[in-house]
Subunit: 295 residues, 2 copies
């Protein structure tokens, strides 16, 4: 089978053998925002044509490709949702040269009853065997970070934090960004930002401190982005850990750069973290296809 993690800004495809082994992989910047005029079929064929020619006929897609802005809207499956529930609700694209299906998103609500949605992360969670076997908490950092509780192989609830998008908006469109130049993401300024997130007076005050620290020469323009990032990630992690069982191990899933920052933040905030790379998506797609007894 072919599994594709097709997000807003990136496209990652995996050719997967019957036993779940990844035989081949490719990645490009052709996320749904970078596909002109809704030409998703053509794009997919260009990306995975050689694998189709080699005999693959089943393609399973997850991520924003199944959103209203994507190829076709795949309805949300409510929590609790595991591989079986996801597999039972695949959406057929109805295509001529291959069987192409979409993994649904997952809907739920937070502890206060506010609605929550995810699309793509559910598939990555299904790709971490440890979570499926023992349950626990998954953290999927990004533009909209997700923290999901898993029990008996199913996502039972989750919360979203707008951390990545808030960072971009602050850096691009406030006085903070005017004093910043690119610098290393990790290191002492990131650690200082995480420590800062534990101090009194709240996030909106800590943000202004980035300006004040720069103004008085206590923070350089290249250190400021990591300090801001540490403040935001620190606030996210502290809030999320406060809702978690004490001593819980957080399974952090994503790119090595991002999971390194989050693992560091989780440890600094008194939690325990294990890291998993983005190929969790491939394993999750295969799991779901297995449950569908389809590919």
């Amino acid at each position: 089978m072919i599994g594709v993690d097709w997000g807003t800004t990136s496209f990652r495809a995996f050719r997967i053998a019957r036993d779940g082994t990844i035989r081949d992989r490719r990645a490009s910047q052709r996320g749904i925002m970078n596909v002109p005029d809704g030409r998703f079929g053509d794009t997919l064929r260009e990306e995975i044509g050689p694998w189709l020619a080699a005999g693959e006929a089943h393609v399973l897609l997850s991520g924003m490709i199944g959103s209203r802005q994507g190829w076709k809207e795949a309805p949300y499956v409510p929590c609790p949702a595991g591989a079986a529930e996801l597999a039972a609700s695949l959406t057929d694209i109805g295509f001529d040269w291959a069987q192409v299906k979409l993994v649904p998103g997952v809907s739920g609500h937070d502890d206060s009853g506010i609605a929550e949605v995810m699309r793509g992360e559910e598939t990555q969670v299904m790709g971490v065997p440890l979570l499926l076997r023992d349950g626990g908490i998954a953290c999927l950092p990004g533009t909209h970070s997700k923290w999901a509780r898993v029990r008996d192989g199913r996502i039972v609830s989750f919360t979203t934090h707008m951390t990545g998008e808030v960072f971009a908006a602050l850096r691009g469109h406030t006085i903070l960004g005017r004093m910043m130049r690119d610098g290393p993401a990790e290191g002492a300024p990131f650690d200082a930002g995480i420590a800062r997130s534990a101090e009194p007076d709240g996030l909106l005050h800590h943000l202004f401190g980035v300006r004040a620290q720069t103004l008085f020469g206590r923070l350089t323009d290249t250190d400021a982005p990591a300090y801001l990032s540490g403040i935001l990630i620190g606030h996210e992690v502290r809030a999320a850990l406060a809702s978690a069982t004490a001593g819980a191990v957080i399974q952090v899933i994503g790119s090595p750069e991002l999971t390194a920052l989050y693992a560091k933040a989780i440890a600094a905030c008194g939690g325990f973290a294990e890291r998993h790379d983005g190929e969790a998506a491939a394993r999750g797609l295969w799991q779901i296809a297995e449950h569908a007894a389809w590919a």
Copy 2:
């Protein structure tokens, strides 16, 4: 004398009698960002020319006009700072057709030792007699909200919250703004946002809830701005009240629209608020001039 509160986006001038009575006032949009080519002298003369012609010769300016981006940089005075300290550190503009002086800004640090600065708010605080007499806490909402502790007529410490600028960046440059249209600032959605700020999982999670609530039709596009504003102001107020003495009355100083929102938020968060309008700046300028025995 003539007192001018000259900020980033607005210009407000007051003609003040010897006994402190405001005899005349005018306001325009000619904040320092809207004055081309540093033509501050010409702008000032155009705005207050008739008062000068009528015999006024002393002009005291406060606000961002004394910043590096303004007419001339007026150095910061460290906390504790009252009318006497401010009056002792006026900066002379050196102008031909009138004596024009700048009120200094105030510098300090928060409880964690992080640097803080204000410019303009110190003058407004000096214009609230109750604060000068009894001490207490001033809240000056805005782009960068200030919360100042006053004792024995002097500002002893203060913190800044980036609330207004964060609201603008989120509305203008994130997915939240794409689902918003102008609506009433007060009302049930604002109250709901304040209530939301007390719930678990933190500000970065509550922000994403604005999108989720809109997506599921539980929040209209015209109600969403007030809900977002309630979330942000609620977080600011809760964090600031946590650092205040229990039962303290907060003196909220600013435009009637903004002080109404903050008074409501403070009451909803268990505090007590009194409101003061922006003419506090005029009274503060007069107080400082009196101490300088100058105008």
